[in-house]
């Protein structure tokens, strides 16, 4: 029992408890107290992130909860996502009139982060499921936190219904695996199974369960509606953290369970990857609402990660980790830039972003960097992410998928460039955009990392490759 293995989880839990206590004690009155609450949570998360670099990898708290290098890497991604969200939320909440609920927001967000972190550490099916639920439940409530807006309950209801069904399906799948192996510890499963034929439906159900969470084909219907209706900084978190944790857990399950008993599973994943890429990219084409556009583009991005999963190799896993770093900063950056627009009183649409280069040059330039990164254009981080995923898939001989992905990346460029066109080419004088300082700071942080990471990708690639050496 090594406490290092759960040090981050304990830290986040303690932080949540402190935030809850301070929120209770300090009352809900003043702006200053709310602001300091966000500051406290942000500093705590940054501190934990810094601390995580000093933690040893490959330590077990219990056999059910092991922090290997892979898990540690994903936890850093989750912590960074949470920290950026906390940083950008206060001005947004303040302007949209739900700053009173800051305490709930922060505590729920921290719990969701905790769930994601436990999910990637889990080595046992029940732990996995509990972590999965801990990641999901706070997000259902968070999606409804802007409850005074009429569309908010609709979005929250969608994520709740789809999410709870997916949990049930996942539980059924895990149950079938238990029935096949006779143990909930997957490392203890015998290599020759008495009921091996149960494995095929079991894996299908687990894939469906995670499919809702990470928004893969055909379980992405809730994504655009929920994204559109939820507060944007939360959407930034929602679009990265559950997906990173879910995909990481899928990688672990694939390597440690599925591929041992049902080697065909990579072929299914390859088909899912293709369909996810196709549907995400095509559905994003006609969108004019930036949040819906980014929602579908996020679906497409998940398709690319699944491509790495389909390669079934350690290299592919490393590249997926790297892809998630790229996706974290580009996608969160893009959503936070939209949040900045909304906080300044514009609609999150192509029209709202018109002529942004004149109205807020810094925001426009940063947004452009995110779009190029999501589109996979060289010299920004996202290009390397895509390229490495393609390399991994090429090594596994999936040339058809690489070709499909490369062509769809061009399709994707159409809708990303449409946003760029609105920002840079449309000449329509709108009012200057006053971006709140905290959001601007978060956006710039992402932008700097996207651009710098594009110039020296080794900084992220080498740790990502090191993190999968254990597999």
């Amino acid at each position: 029992m090594d406490w290092n293995a759960v040090a981050l989880e304990v830290g986040v839990l303690a932080l949540a408890a402190v935030v809850l206590a301070v929120d209770l004690v300090a009352g809900r009155g003043t702006r200053g107290s709310r602001k300091s609450l966000y500051g406290l949570a942000f500093l705590g998360l940054v501190g934990l992130l810094a601390y995580s670099f000093r933690l040893p990898a490959g330590v077990a708290f219990t056999p059910a909860l092991v922090q290997d290098a892979f898990a540690l890497f994903v936890k850093k991604v989750l912590l960074a996502a949470a920290a950026l969200t906390v940083l950008a939320t206060y001005p947004y909440a303040d302007r949209r009139g739900w700053a009173r609920r800051s305490g709930e927001f922060l505590v729920l967000l921290l719990f969701a982060t905790l769930g994601g972190m436990a999910l990637v550490s889990a080595q046992e099916f029940l732990t996995l499921f509990v972590a999965f639920e801990l990641l999901s439940l706070p997000l259902y409530s968070l999606a409804a936190i802007e409850k005074s807006r009429p569309e908010s309950p609709e979005g929250a209801m969608k994520i709740f219904l789809f999410g709870s069904v997916s949990s049930a399906v996942l539980l059924l799948g895990l149950g079938l695996i238990w029935a096949a192996t006779g143990t909930t510890f997957w490392h203890e499963a015998p290599s020759i199974l008495p009921h091996a034929n149960l494995f095929v439906p079991a894996i299908a159900l687990v894939l469906v369960g995670f499919g809702f969470k990470v928004a893969m084909f055909p379980f992405y219907m809730w994504v655009p509606d929920t994204y559109e209706a939820s507060p944007t900084p939360l959407v930034a978190f929602l679009s990265v953290a559950p997906k990173a944790a879910g995909i990481a857990a899928l990688f672990r399950l694939d390597f440690e369970v599925f591929s041992l008993h049902a080697p065909d599973v990579t072929r299914w994943i390859a088909i899912l990857a293709a369909l996810t890429m196709i549907s995400g990219n095509l559905l994003a084409l006609p969108q004019t609402n930036l949040k819906r556009l980014l929602a579908y583009s996020g679906v497409a991005q998940i398709g690319y990660v699944l491509l790495a999963l389909a390669s079934g190799s350690r290299f592919g896993a490393g590249m997926a980790l790297f892809f998630f770093v790229a996706y974290l900063f580009s996608n969160m950056g893009a959503f936070l830039a939209v949040a900045a627009l909304e906080a300044a009183g514009d609609e999150p649409t192509l029209h709202g972003a018109r002529n942004l280069i004149r109205r807020s040059p810094v925001l426009a330039a940063a947004f452009l960097a995110f779009l190029l990164s999501l589109g996979g254009i060289p010299f920004v981080l996202g290009f390397w992410g895509k390229m490495y995923v393609f390399l991994a898939a090429g090594r596994a001989g999936l040339w058809g998928l690489v070709f499909l992905g490369a062509v769809l990346a061009v399709v994707a460029l159409y809708y990303y460039l449409n946003v760029a066109r609105a920002m840079f080419i449309v000449r329509d004088d709108g009012p200057a955009v006053a971006v709140p300082g905290a959001i601007l700071l978060a956006v710039l942080l992402c932008a700097v990392l996207v651009v710098a990471g594009g110039l020296v990708p080794q900084v992220f690639v080498e740790p990502a490759l090191a993190a999968v050496r254990g597999f």
């Binding site: 090429g394 070709f403 490369a406 840079f424 080419i425 080794q458």
Partner: protein, 511 residues
């Protein structure tokens, strides 16, 4: 080693772009000065390269090499041979004249010069990179800024919308600059998707033979690829780079994009970027995969003659002067690809020389039609006429460029076309020559008719006060027109180094 000529070429436009970022919008004079300052070092380097290239030693010279991502076999490996030197010279000239031709732009100059500099950095990068991954990165960098250049500073034509499909033209807004910009970008990036897959294929295959998979061109040359894989890779490269070189039937982005682009945009794009595609086919397609290229040269050559005839016919059909020049580029790029496909010394030399000659000529033509448009605000040739009275200087340069285009001896275009046709006659498919000659004939028809319609005839009462070219604009015309004449009378200036490069190319091809 020892000097960093190639890094200077690369860094100077990048540095220019960086400095431009910090110059305020209103300081137009400073902006132009910075742009020009970033264009001069590459020009100096180009001269130094021509002068200092060791013809006796041959091969790739001025090499600079340091690792970037060793675990993936990616390094910054820069070097030039006789072929790429000619193209570096071309690029540095076009860059300078592209700036001088937009001297009086007066609209968002800062961003304009910035994106132009980025584009040029990409072009230089492609021509001097020996690492194929770096090559690809620069290729993308060269393609993207055009979207902004066309989208912001481009011009739209009034779509007439005739014929049974007129409604589709109106529906997709053909002829509108945003349409042209998006079409160009998506076509070229679809091409680069092909290239990327081809590169990865080559990379993975090299890992089976070499101790470490690599993108380094010199190392990849030592790999004997399996024939089937090599043919697939060759086709991927041919189609991918071919889109940018305007090969039929993937050429349609070129007229729409070039006609919508601002002067400097079309100059860079038709003058240099289309050569990037041809250079990619030559370097990555032919030189890397010689056997597959020899197997498929019949395809390249046949498509090339379709290009020549199709482009010329389409150009003859146009009333819009910008579309006319754009289609003539499609036709002339066919000559480039035809020369390459002959796999003869004369043909390939002609092909490379045509890249330079056509680059300069088409840049001159585009700058002229943009000047004519800028002063008359008309792009429809049938509404012009008699402009020669008002703008005699521009008429003279248009005639020079036009005559080079139709291959009049004494101008650069003649040398190139003569060599290509000579090579075609001695190649394995001499019949290519006949459609090519038909194309040359049609070129003469539409060029002379364009001169007639725009500049000849009595003074036009609709345009009472047309000015001739204005101060700095002359620099563009004189430099480009002068180069056409110089290369026409003294082709050895570039042909010597081209000959060395082509000699090695053919040795590699086993001819």
């Amino acid at each position: 080693m020892g000097d960093h000529l190639l890094s200077i070429t690369l860094l100077s436009p990048l540095l220019g772009a960086l400095v431009l970022l910090f110059v305020p919008y209103r300081a137009a004079r400073t902006l132009r000065a910075v742009a020009i300052a970033s264009a001069l070092p590459p020009l100096g380097v180009a001269v130094a390269l021509v002068a200092r290239y060791d013809l006796a030693a041959g091969g790739f010279q001025f090499a600079e090499n340091f690792p970037l991502l060793p675990s993936l076999g990616i390094s910054i490996h820069l070097a030039v041979d006789g072929i790429s030197i000619a193209l570096v010279v071309l690029t540095s000239i076009i860059y300078l004249t592209a700036i001088t031709t937009t001297w009086y732009l007066a609209e968002r100059e800062k961003e304009f010069y910035l994106f132009l500099a980025l584009l040029v950095a990409g072009v230089f990068g492609v021509f001097v990179s020996l690492d194929l991954f770096l090559f690809f990165l620069f290729y993308e960098l060269a393609v993207l800024p055009m979207y902004v250049l066309i989208g912001i500073w481009g011009s739209s034509m009034e779509v007439p919308g005739r014929g049974p499909f007129a409604w589709t033209y109106r529906a997709v807004r053909v002829g509108i600059k945003e349409y042209g910009a998006m079409k160009l970008t998506l076509y070229l990036l679809a091409g680069s998707a092909f290239i990327l897959v081809g590169l990865f294929l080559v990379w993975v295959e090299s890992g089976r033979v070499l101790p470490q998979a690599t993108f380094d061109f010199m190392e990849l040359q030592t790999v004997a690829f399996p024939r089937g894989t090599a043919q697939i890779a060759f086709l991927l490269f041919y189609v991918g780079f071919g889109v940018l070189a305007g090969i039929w039937p993937f050429h349609t982005w070129s007229p729409d994009g070039h006609a919508a682009a601002p002067a400097a945009g079309s100059m860079m794009h038709a003058g240099v970027l289309m050569k990037l595609g041809a250079y990619g086919v030559l370097r990555v397609g032919f030189q890397l995969l010689p056997e597959a290229a020899a197997d498929l040269a019949w395809l390249v050559g046949t498509v090339a003659v379709v290009n020549i005839v199709w482009g010329a016919m389409a150009a003859g059909w146009q009333k819009d002067i910008k579309y006319l020049i754009a289609y003539s580029s499609v036709s002339h790029m066919g000559v480039v690809m035809l020369g390459l496909a002959t796999l003869t010394a004369a043909g390939v030399q002609g092909s490379v020389f045509q890249m330079v000659a056509h680059g300069i000529m088409t840049a001159l033509l585009f700058t002229l039609v943009n000047l004519v448009y800028g002063k008359s605000h008309v792009r429809d040739m049938t509404k012009m006429g008699g402009f020669g009275h008002r703008m005699p200087g521009m008429a003279a340069f248009f005639v020079i460029a036009g005559l080079s285009s139709l291959g009049l001896p004494g101008l650069a275009g003649f040398v190139a076309e003569f060599l290509v046709f000579l090579g075609t006659w001695t190649s394995a498919h001499p019949w290519w020559l006949f459609p090519a000659l038909i194309g040359a004939f049609v070129t003469a028809v539409y060029v002379l008719r364009a001169v007639n319609r725009i500049f000849l005839g009595p003074p036009n009462p609709d345009f009472p006060d047309l000015p001739d070219a204005h101060r700095v604009e002359w620099v563009t015309l004189v430099v480009l027109g002068g180069m056409l004449i110089v290369l026409g009378f003294w082709p050895r200036l570039l042909l010597d180094s081209i000959r060395v490069g082509v000699g090695e190319f053919l040795l590699r091809m086993g001819v």
